[in-house]
Symmetry: D2
Subunit: 365 residues, 4 copies
């Protein structure tokens, strides 16, 4: 089955234009790398690691303003105490499987010192979602080597989506989920155009709640059409959302962006279920904070009054990232023969057409 | 022009059943009272006061668990420091005009002591949105007497909506806005049915962003069809959302509900504009905390694992409250001949029909 | 009885040098103004208003980075939602009596628009502590005119302390309390010397808990020596602490300073009693954020690594501000003949000498 | 050199009585276990693991109300997102070395499922401080087996202090630090006596700042008397504080306790240096929250008005815990021949006597 990105199906989210790759890598200097682990022996592995690195991978010593928001905290993202205290993201961000957090944490503590970043803080940022339906968790799969592999794979340009990297074993709205990304261009009143990008590791939600551009797609695709994953707690899932921009935002402006990720999640049908870890992190590369530094840093700050289009851009990019994860992910068979079926693309197109009247209007949002 | 509630137009939000009045007053013991101030002399007044009182108006000495969430903080809600510290709502909640906060605050400090509630804290909860487009703010309109009048009007049962009380002068998605309310019944796994109610003072948003049940209603109604209010900063508006339930929730569970109000706002098209005060407060009447008290309070707490339907209920009730504010509010002429036009109900119905295919599916969400 | 400042008694707090006035006004551009209301007819008034204005009183349109911290939230400080969202203090700070919050709020909403600050936010910052023991609260004393009077009195240089302004009726550690201030000079690694100033409205605490430079002064002064105020709940009191610096700090660095005010309060014997509103606000004038602004603001940010001496400076300046409030305040008779006695200065000196061995060491901290 | 507890030296902190063991284990059901790793080959190890387990080690399925407070966030404590969201501590708490967080995290994820706690959340709470001065971090020392060993060692009764468990390699106020504990009995107005206990992993601070009961002990002990550790950033240290009580407190009441740990730290001379991770966690065992649960939990909540003595108890127990860590810890030689010297007990006694006049008063606080 050939998979696709949402826009290539003729379906558009929102009104703002995407960047050239419609990906978080449209933010200059932001790199993404995956390590995908798929094997059936000795135990079934459907898991992996995704790394997002701002400032061209130099963020261990060229800090980036950032902030996090927890929409529902049934999950882990390490490093948030210092992030909140300092407003600084001082490492790349790692997304992986719940049971790989410890391994990833230790690897990310040691990596910078092994690679000459002597001023690293040793407080890694590792997020996770739970892939224990498709991925056999009885034995660890992710090793330090996979973290290194994902870092080595860091690149700009197009970003592989779906069941890759940390998203390999994920399930979203009871379809096969995983990694998705999108971006928007924001033309600011001051004449500058900035980029807002999002990347999600999408592993949450009930099928009935899935919406695409306001259309209740999930309700239109019954289990007779596309089987659901077997019995698993509907609320056992999570979504980690990373938002980046090249605008010169301060940490608390990043927090405003992080909280706006809720809008995109809400539009796609997320409700922050009780056992869902819906953790959002936003960073802004418009300032550089190299360490060590003696003198006060010279910075810029976008006036708050110009943030409105960024809020809309985050909402659109996050919604589209989630749907991109679904349209890119492929039907996957995992541990114990369990299956997660892909969202059927032709069905999606049919539903979208049926719910959109012939009118000059674009779809909702 | 006869106005209506959304459901009376045949339009449904979500899937959960509403309570008997489809209002926050469906939560037993929750009372609502309005004082509406409309006059043209000596200066134009289009303003008022709305009071929401849990525990039958006894909350000054029969505290209620509660929590607040700020989606965007360009606004005031007093009393939140103690609310956050204690988890207690120890007074009714007042919603009014921005420039009436001081008057309402002082009135609410003195009222309980004048009425025998000797254990009141003196830390009132007063929220506001800005009605300076229709309401002439050059002179104060709201007096202590209006606060008393709204308290005297506290009642259960149906709640007047639209341009009443604190909502009298409000504008929402560039239509006439104001007060709206709705409720949902939540059948819990433990066999108990609880009520979730919402009440909004809606004064935010751009027309193009308005959605109803996933349909982009705002974009379909151009300024040629319904004029927009005159030049005013699109982001100069706010929404205060009050959520109540009779479930036995602890304060941090109320915070979970308060944050879920974001979902309903997002579905209706809110993005938390920079100069919007989007402040949400949730309370739970399932426990009583009378003061003074010597012994530990006996309480109950709903297990977190049973909160999922409450999250959906909040989203639905908030979205419907916002739309109810719009369908109830009447076209209003205010200061300097400025007008805010009502959302045309027949047009709304036509749009909804056009965007909903003949199918057994209910609309989005 | 001649009152004094602590240092004039030969008692020193900490090791850092104070600024020229040992007051928050040592921070360039920071002004303080009091309006003191003392009268016996028609009802007894022992109350007032204190205003702290950074950026020479222009902060309505020349915003200042700031943050607040609540050590115990039984109190009100308005305007904190926008302060937290934006990181901006966009008005002077008003400290007054609990029951004057409403009046002060409305006065501060209208004042800027009446004085040409057309870009003011209308979200005033008003803090309070409770003076109902000495001050008859049955009728309001503070009027809009008093707010204006305190603003008109804004000045740099030495700051009147003790029972003046908002501190007029306050009681601290069961002695007469009120307003106190202090400052410290911080020589930064980068060669620049910055000022850290504090101003407190001190109205909290049990006598037995009072310490001065580590010495248990309160325990040494029994009620036989100095009578305590009559029966009042020991925990019915509060302290508002305002910290200012001219260093170029971002909002979250201000939050770090605000939280460090806890250290000074702890050293003086505060424990954050249940019904104490211990609310701290810190601002940094090292950046100017004029409004409106189209282009990104050029800013500077002190590296976090250079903040340690600021933390110590806040602790010292806050502790000394509290003790200055006590050594400056005069014995006061108020409503119903109630008395609050001043801390006796000679006794204080005797105790300090007795607890300090002849040694080259300075006292604790 | 024989080491001691502070009280055995005749020095008392505060006025409240300690529990029978003057330890966090005085809180019924609270167990503590250490695994201490001291060896010189193949690389020098001075490190370990300490586990604190409420509810008799059953907290994986018998949850405990809890909350955390970050006084300065340069550190890691995992699991805080769910702790904040739910108010529940759903595992024991692990304290260890910074570079052992990953290992401890993974061990604590797997342990409960390997031991029949099928309803565990998989979100461990692991805190850390940095022992890289004495402990050679070039190779990992802590393994999963050490976590298991510390769990196996869980016991009530007296708690080994000083250089044991997670405190093995720690340095505090430039003396040898580590683990310390203390407790206080709180006689509540309602007639019940509750216990408040604290346990610290103390690894922070400059010598000059150390105070004991208000006396500037640190300044009195120069480097000529007791050598300081070699060059290391003065602010490279941290303190993790765990507070427990058997009172029936809700999560936000635990947060109030957690924040009060600041008082004890301030009294001992902590200032929350920039690179110090001063993270506090408080739990209350007065309620049991077993999982799974269908019906609402029956709970009790101590009225806020009775919390004041708890606040004082936390301050005292935390201060004494820190000093106990110092009086118990032994001079240690670690990696590269580096030394951390113990606080000399006779000198401490001499200083305390010299600074305390012959008077019926107890020392400060």
């Amino acid at each position: 089955m050939t998979r696709s990105r949402l826009r290539d199906l003729g379906i558009t989210i929102g009104t703002l234009p995407p960047g050239p790759h419609n990906a978080i890598t449209d933010v200059p200097g932001v790199l993404v790398g995956h390590a995908t682990i798929v094997r059936d022996e000795p135990t079934v592995a459907r898991t992996g690691v995704t790394v997002i690195a701002p400032h061209g991978g130099q963020s261990w010593e060229d800090h980036v303003f950032a902030a996090a928001h927890s929409f529902n905290g049934f999950g882990e993202m390490t490093g948030l105490l210092w992030l909140a205290e300092s407003g600084l993201l001082s490492s790349p961000v790692v997304l992986t499987s719940t049971l790989a957090v410890g391994t990833a944490y230790e690897a990310m503590q040691r990596y910078p010192f092994e690679h000459g970043f002597v001023h690293a803080t040793g407080l890694p940022v590792v997020g996770e979602t739970y892939d224990g339906y498709l991925n056999d968790l009885s034995t660890p799969h992710v090793t330090r080597a996979h973290i290194h592999q994902a870092i080595a794979a860091l690149a700009d340009g197009p970003v592989p989506e779906g069941n890759v990297g940390g998203g390999t074993g994920m399930i979203c709205h009871e379809f096969k989920g995983g990694i998705g990304t999108s971006s928007r261009l924001v033309a600011c009143e001051n004449g500058t155009t900035y980029v807002v990008g999002a990347l999600v590791q999408a592993n949450y939600g009930a099928r009935a709640d899935l919406c695409v551009a306001g259309v209740p797609v999930g309700r239109e695709i019954g289990p007779d059409q596309v089987p659901q994953p077997g019995p698993r707690p509907l609320d056992m899932g999570s979504i980690v959302i990373v938002v980046g921009t090249d605008a010169p935002l301060l940490p608390l402006q990043c927090r405003r962006l992080a909280q706006r990720a809720t809008l995109g999640l809400a539009r796609a049908g997320g409700v922050g279920h009780n056992r869902s870890g819906d953790i959002f992190l936003a960073f802004a590369t418009g300032n550089h904070l190299p360490v060590p530094m003696d003198d006060p840093y010279p910075l810029h700050m976008l006036p708050h009054g110009q943030m409105n289009p960024f809020f809309g851009a985050v909402a659109e990019a996050v919604e589209e990232s989630i749907i991109n994860a679904l349209t890119a992910a492929e039907t996957t068979t995992g541990a114990h023969g369990r299956m997660a079926h892909a969202l059927p693309l032709d069905t999606l197109q049919t539903i979208m057409r049926r719910w959109t009247p012939e009118s000059p209007c674009t779809p909702c949002y």
